[in-house]
C-alpha cells in the first residue's frame, strides 16, 4: 500500500511500486484531469504538484509518492469556486483544445506559490516544461501574469 495526501485527502492505493503515478491517478483513482501526451516527461500535460513542486506524473513511480502531498488539477478549485488561475485561463482564451490546460494551470499554481509577482520572463521559464500546440503561448502567459496580479 502506498499512502499520500491527494488534493487534501489521505489516500491509499494498492499498486506495484513502479506503477506510474499517472496510471494510479487516472486508472485507479479515476482522476482523469491529469493528461498523458507523451509518456516521457516532455509535454507536461501530466503535471501535478508533489509537495508543491511541479513534476510529470508519467515519470514518477507511485512508490516515490509515499508520504507526500499531491495536488492535481481536480484539487485547484474550491467547491464551485475556480482558482484565479483557472478564471484567468478562461477570460484570456488561454485554453483552446484544453488537453494541455490542466498541466499548465497546475504548473502556474506552483509558480504562484513560490513567486507572487513574476515577470513575463519568469512565467515563460516556469512554464517551459509544458507544451501547447494551440495558443502560441501568448494568451497563457497573459493569463498567468494576470492571475498573479501583474500587468499582462
Amino acid at each position: 500500500m502506498t499512502q499520500f495526501s491527494l488534493n487534501g485527502h489521505t489516500t491509499s492505493v494498492d499498486a506495484p511500486p513502479m506503477t506510474r503515478l499517472i496510471d494510479v491517478l487516472r486508472e485507479q483513482l479515476r482522476l482523469t484531469g491529469t493528461k498523458e501526451g507523451c509518456g516521457e516527461g516532455e509535454c507536461g500535460a501530466c503535471t501535478v504538484l508533489i509537495d508543491g513542486l511541479p513534476v510529470n506524473a508519467c515519470m514518477i513511480p507511485v512508490v516515490q509518492a509515499e508520504g507526500t502531498q499531491i495536488l492535481t488539477v481536480e484539487g485547484l478549485a474550491e467547491d464551485e469556486r475556480l482558482h484565479p488561475i483557472q478564471t484567468a485561463f478562461i477570460n484570456y482564451g488561454a485554453a483552446q483544445c484544453g488537453i494541455c490546460t490542466p498541466g499548465f494551470v497546475v504548473a502556474a499554481k506552483a509558480l504562484l506559490d513560490a513567486q507572487p509577482n513574476p515577470s513575463r520572463t519568469e512565467v515563460r521559464e516556469a512554464l517551459a516544461g509544458n507544451l501547447c500546440r494551440c495558443t502560441g503561448y501568448q494568451k497563457i502567459i497573459d493569463a498567468v501574469v494576470e492571475a498573479l496580479g501583474g500587468q499582462p
Binding site: 509535454c43 485561463f89 478562461i90 485554453a95 483544445c97 484544453g98 520572463t121 495558443t135
Partner: protein
C-alpha cells in the same frame, strides 16, 4: 447586446480548466478491451503472413488480420486504395498488418511485440523526384495521384530572369492529445464509435464499406487538437477498433502512444518547388512560372486536394500578366501524408515569398518595396482568371509594418542580442489564403444545420466539431445574434452522427464562414417559423415565445444554398477558385547565434484580414497558435526518415516544437474586410496564420547574416553550415 464581435468566454472553458472535459482516453466503457497495432517493418514488400511467438500466452489475446474483415478491405476517402489492414503487400513502413485486443494496454502492446510480420522485401521508391513513371508501381500506372496545370497569358523572356528551387520537409501536426478511438457494440449489431476527431461523418462513410452495413454512429469526444491530423486518420483507428470490437464482442479502445502516432500518422506533404520569373528592370513581374512536386506517400488520402490548394497559392498575392503553374503529386513507399493546417498553401507561400526575396536581391530592390509594387489589387486576376475584389494585401502590409515600429523588447531569456555572437534581422512576408473549399466544393457538400427550440433555449445541431478553435462558442454567438437573444441561451449539441445533420467536414477553415452562414439562415428560419406559428410579425424572440400556446420543441433545418456567384471549371482549373481570400502580413524580428546557428525569436507581428472577428480573443488565439506552428516549421520541426521511410525522431525529445522559451512575444492585429457571403462578414481564418512565418523567418535570417536558405526547416545545423560556406567563400 449583439454577441457578435464580443469576447464571449469559451463555452468549454470551465470544463477544460477544471480537468472535467472528457477526452477519449478519459472514457472507459464497462468491459472495455484495449487494442494495439502490428505494423510493417519495411517500406515495400510481399506480405507472407504473421507469426505468433509460441512461447507467449495468447489465451486472453484476440488477433485480427485482413481475413477478419467482414466486407471490403478499404478505409474509404477520395479513392478506394487504402486498405484497413495490409493484404499480400505492404506499401509503407508502419502500415497496419494486424490488430490485437487485450485486457490492458500493456498486455496488448506485449502481444504486438510477440508477433512477427513475415515479409519479403521488394525494392522501394522513397524519393518523390524519381517516383513518377517509375517501373515500380505504387499507385495507378504512373504513381501520380494528381497532376494540374494552370496557365494565364503567353510567355516572354524579355526581362531579368530569376530562378530558384525551394524545398520543404514533412511537418507533424503534433496535437498534444494522441489519436484515440473507442468502438462500442450496439444492440442492433451495429457500432458506436467515440473518439478524437474533426469529421464524424468521414468515419461513417470511411468504414461502412468495410463493415458492409451502415449501422454506425460516430460521436466526437472532446478533442485535444487536430490541425488536420484528425481529419482523415481517425477513420483508420475507427476501422481497427471496429474490427476488434466485432471479433471480441466487447468495447475496444485504442490510444496511440506518441512514438507510434509520430511514425504512423499523416504529415504535411514534403515538396520541391521551382520558380522561374521574368521581371522588368523596374521590378514589375512580367512572368511567373512555378512547378511543385509533392510527395503524397503510399496512399491517396487527400493529396489531390492538397496539391490543388498548393497550386492555387503558388502565385502569391501578386499581380502578373503571365502565370504558368504546374503541379504533380506522386506516390512513394512512405507513410501517407495528409491534411495539415494550410493544406498545401504553406509550402507554396514559403517558396513564393522566398522567390520574391530572390528577385528583390537580384535587381537590387528593397524586398518590401518590391512586394508593394507588385501586390495584387482590386480587378486584378489570379492565375485561374478570377477577378479579385476587396483585396487587402496593401492594408495588411501597412498595418503590420506600422505595428512593427513599436520598440522590440528582447525577452531577457535571449542573451546579448544584436552584438557579439548574435546578429539581428527582420523579415517580412505577405500572404493570401483562399477561404473555404475550392471551386464548387461547398455547393457539392451542401452542408446542413439544424436548430432546435427547447423550452426557451436553442440548441444548434451540426457536425462542425470544436477541436479547440472555439466553434462551441462562436456558433452560439452567431445564432444568438440572428435571434436577438443572449448567447447563454444557445449551445451546440454534442456531435453524434445519429443526432446531427451532416454540415460538412471541419476542415479548410470554412466552419465559421460557411457553416456559420447556414446556421444564421437556420436561426432566421426558426424565428420565421415562430412568427408563422404565433401569427405575430415581431422580431422579438421572447415575445414570440410568450405567444406560443405550448412548449413543444421546434426544429428547423437549413442547407447551404449555392448563390451561383462562383464560376469554376474543375476540368480546366479556371474561374473562381475560392469564394473569398484572406490576407496577412508577418514581420518577424530575430537574432541568429553565430556560434550555434540557432535562431532566437524576438518578436512576431502579424496583421491578418479575418473578414469579421465573431469573437476577437478566439480569433487572436487562432492567429497566434498558427503563427507558432509556422515558426516551428521554419526552424525546428524536422521529420527524419531512415532508409525504410520510418520517422526515426519519433519522440518529443527529438521532434522539437516550440516551447514558451522559443516562442516570441506577439503583436496580433486583426483587420476586417468583410466577405458578403459570410455570417456578419466572417472569413475562414484557421489556416492563414500558418502561411507567413516560415518565409518571414528565412528573410530575417538573410537580413541578419547574409545567407540565403531555401530549405525548411532552417535548423541550427543548416544555418551554421550556410554561415561556414559563406565564410569560406
Amino acid at each position: 447586446m449583439n454577441p457578435v464581435g464580443i469576447d464571449i468566454p469559451r463555452a468549454d472553458g470551465p470544463s477544460k480548466v477544471r480537468g472535467d472535459a472528457q477526452y477519449v482516453d478519459d472514457i472507459r466503457p464497462a468491459g472495455c478491451l484495449y487494442g494495439a497495432t502490428v505494423r510493417s517493418p519495411i517500406a515495400h514488400g510481399k506480405l507472407l503472413g504473421i507469426q505468433k511467438d509460441p512461447d507467449f500466452d495468447w489465451s486472453d489475446i484476440t488477433v485480427v488480420t485482413c481475413l477478419d474483415i467482414p466486407a471490403q478491405n478499404v478505409v474509404l476517402l477520395m479513392t478506394e486504395d487504402q486498405p484497413a489492414l495490409a493484404d499480400g503487400v505492404v506499401r509503407h513502413v508502419e502500415e497496419p498488418v494486424a490488430l490485437v485486443a487485450a485486457s490492458s494496454p500493456a498486455r496488448a502492446r506485449a502481444a504486438v511485440a510477440h508477433i512477427k510480420v513475415l515479409v519479403e522485401a521488394l525494392p522501394a521508391v522513397l524519393d518523390p523526384l524519381t517516383a513518377q513513371n517509375n517501373p515500380i508501381q505504387i499507385f495507378g500506372t504512373d504513381n501520380v495521384f494528381k497532376q494540374i496545370s494552370i496557365h494565364k497569358g503567353d510567355k516572354t523572356d524579355d526581362g531579368v530572369i530569376v530562378e530558384g528551387t525551394y524545398t520543404v520537409g514533412h511537418q507533424e501536426q503534433l496535437y498534444i492529445e494522441p489519436q484515440g478511438m473507442i468502438a462500442v457494440p450496439r444492440a442492433d449489431d451495429g457500432l458506436t464509435l467515440i473518439g478524437s476527431m474533426q469529421c464524424p461523418f468521414y468515419i461513417v462513410k470511411a468504414i461502412a464499406p468495410m463493415l458492409g452495413h451502415g449501422r454506425i454512429n460516430v460521436i466526437q469526444a472532446t478533442t485535444g487538437g487536430g490541425f488536420g491530423g484528425k481529419e482523415e486518420y481517425p477513420s483508420m483507428l475507427a476501422a481497427h477498433c471496429a474490427l476488434l470490437s466485432i471479433k471480441t464482442g466487447a468495447p475496444v479502445k485504442m490510444i496511440y502512444q506518441r512514438d507510434e502516432d509520430l511514425r504512423a500518422t499523416t504529415k504535411r506533404h514534403p515538396s520541391v518547388i521551382k520558380i522561374r520569373s521574368v521581371v522588368s528592370p523596374q521590378g514589375e513581374l512580367l512572368q511567373w512560372d512555378a512547378e511543385i512536386i509533392m510527395d503524397g506517400g503510399a496512399y491517396n488520402t487527400l493529396t489531390p486536394v492538397v496539391l490543388s490548394r498548393a497550386l492555387l497559392h503558388l502565385c502569391g498575392p501578386y499581380r502578373c500578366p503571365r502565370q504558368h503553374l504546374e503541379g504533380v503529386a506522386v506516390a512513394t513507399h512512405t507513410p501517407p501524408n495528409g491534411a495539415f493546417r494550410g493544406f498545401g498553401a504553406p509550402q507554396a507561400m514559403y517558396a513564393v515569398e522566398r522567390h520574391m526575396d530572390a528577385i528583390a536581391r537580384t535587381i537590387g530592390m528593397d524586398p518590401v518595396a518590391f512586394r508593394r509594387l507588385n501586390l495584387i489589387r482590386d480587378g486584378d486576376t489570379t492565375p485561374t482568371g478570377q477577378a479579385l475584389v476587396d483585396t487587402g494585401a496593401h492594408l495588411v502590409l501597412d498595418v503590420a509594418l506600422k505595428a512593427a515600429e513599436a520598440e522590440v523588447k528582447t525577452p531577457a531569456i535571449h542573451p546579448g542580442g544584436g552584438v557579439g555572437r548574435y546578429a539581428r534581422g527582420r523579415g517580412v512576408a505577405l500572404v493570401f489564403h483562399g477561404c473555404g473549399f475550392t471551386g464548387n466544393g461547398e455547393a457539392r457538400i451542401k452542408g446542413k444545420v439544424a436548430v432546435e427550440l427547447q423550452d426557451r433555449c436553442v440548441q444548434i445541431l451540426t457536425a462542425s466539431t470544436d477541436i479547440g478553435q472555439g466553434v462551441d462558442t462562436t456558433f452560439p454567438q452567431i445564432a444568438a445574434a440572428a435571434l436577438g437573444i443572449g448567447v447563454s441561451r444557445v449551445s451546440n449539441a454534442p456531435h453524434d452522427t445519429a443526432m446531427v445533420p451532416d454540415s460538412g467536414p471541419t476542415v479548410a477553415s470554412p466552419t465559421c464562414m460557411v457553416v456559420g452562414g447556414v446556421l444564421r439562415t437556420a436561426a432566421l428560419k426558426l424565428k420565421a417559423a415562430l412568427q408563422a406559428e404565433t401569427g405575430l410579425d415581431t422580431d422579438d424572440f421572447d415575445t414570440l415565445l410568450d405567444a406560443r400556446t405550448h412548449t413543444m420543441a421546434l426544429r428547423v433545418m437549413a442547407e447551404y444554398q449555392d448563390d451561383g456567384s462562383m464560376d469554376w471549371d474543375d476540368a480546366t482549373y479556371s474561374g473562381d477558385a475560392y469564394p473569398c481570400y484572406g490576407w496577412a502580413c508577418s514581420v518577424v524580428d530575430l537574432d541568429v547565434d553565430l556560434d550555434t546557428g540557432e535562431v532566437l525569436y524576438r518578436r512576431y507581428v502579424s496583421a491578418t484580414d479575418v473578414g469579421k472577428a465573431i469573437n476577437p480573443v478566439i480569433v487572436e488565439g487562432q492567429l497566434e497558435g498558427g503563427a507558432i506552428q509556422g515558426l516551428g516549421y521554419a526552424t525546428c520541426e524536422e521529420v527524419v526518415l531512415d532508409d525504410q521511410g520510418r520517422m526515426i525522431n519519433d519522440r518529443l525529445t527529438n521532434y522539437i516544437i516550440p516551447t514558451t522559451l522559443d516562442a516570441p512575444e506577439m503583436i496580433t492585429r486583426i483587420i476586417e474586410i468583410p466577405y458578403s457571403g459570410g455570417p456578419f462578414g466572417a472569413k475562414g481564418i484557421g489556416e492563414i496564420p500558418m502561411d507567413g512565418p516560415a518565409p518571414a523567418v528565412a528573410s530575417a535570417i538573410e537580413a541578419a547574416v547574409g545567407v540565403v536558405l531555401n530549405r525548411l526547416p532552417m535548423t541550427p545545423e543548416r544555418v551554421l553550415s550556410a554561415l561556414e560556406i559563406k565564410e569560406r567563400s
